[in-house]
Symmetry: C2
Subunit: 175 residues, 2 copies
């Protein structure tokens, strides 16, 4: 059932299926907006498709430009989101803590990573691969609907924020 095999991050500690962390996840639920849209039963089902890893500080979880296609859900710790500037120097563009999802875009449209992600503290995270997503569509299409709705809501919120910032920039120009 779980195709998030330990092979995805061979250099990190594989902690097993996210189902093992269901108690912690249900306790943290208020801090994990991603899981806010799911019932306890749905979270239980979803974690069966997710594998967990433990990473030390300074572990690279995602690399800009790479074409892998899994998403991450940070459970503990902290990570920096980095992008290369025009000189090819990595700059921090955001910070991520528990409950943050990262890399959903490449999971959905299998496009190259738009940013890198490096832990700044020891971090436990869950992984959902594109393969597992396809398994959810086949085995539990209703859970698939819920998952895609939650991802769509998160993405739309980000698009609204980006559009608002663009509108601010446009207004700037006329001041």
């Amino acid at each position: 059932m779980n195709s998030n095999a330990p092979t995805l991050y061979p250099e990190l500690e594989y902690l097993g299926s996210a189902t093992r962390f269901i108690e912690e996840i249900l306790q943290l639920i208020d801090q994990i907006p991603f899981f806010g849209g799911f019932s306890d039963q749905e979270i239980q089902a979803l974690t069966g498709y997710m594998g967990c890893y433990g990473a030390p500080r300074k572990a690279r979880l995602l690399t800009e430009g790479q074409t892998d296609s899994h998403m991450l859900l940070l459970l503990t710790g902290r990570a920096a989101v980095l992008k290369n500037d025009s000189q090819g120097v990595e700059k921090i563009v955001a910070e991520a803590g528990p409950g943050t999802t990262l890399g959903e875009m490449s999971m959905i449209d299998v496009s190259p990573r738009s940013a890198s992600c490096v832990t700044t503290e020891p971090t436990d995270f869950a992984v959902l691969t594109r393969g597992s997503l396809n398994e959810i569509f086949i085995n539990s299409p209703r859970l698939g609907n819920k998952l895609l709705l939650v991802l769509l809501q998160l993405t739309m919120r980000r698009l609204r924020e980006a559009n608002d910032r663009l509108l601010l920039h446009a207004t700037d120009r006329f001041l």
Copy 2:
């Protein structure tokens, strides 16, 4: 099966279920990115949940700030996307032609409309309500997965474009 009753736009001509336009839709398919991700059979199923309307020039299809929750798919014609500026004056921010989807955000997160939409030419369009979307989730969850995946891909493409434009603005500041 179809809850896109003629009541949504009482002032416009109701053309019936989108299934009646399936031939036209399948011929236009290359110009309708929204349907690009679906098989002919899936399009057939999807149109059963969509109602069609015919609008004259200058018909208001969406109103900024309003909290209705259906999306539109333009089949023919043309429309302007408008936003109020800080003085409350409507400004055209985009133009939409056949194949364009509008209003998906409010359908998904039931938030107020972020822009208005007014036809600039006589326009036929299909409507998918939040109610019909929920019916798809219940009756055809696999079709729901496909529909949400397509919407997610469209939204992510828009988010990437917005982020690229924001990055350009950020770079501007340092030139």
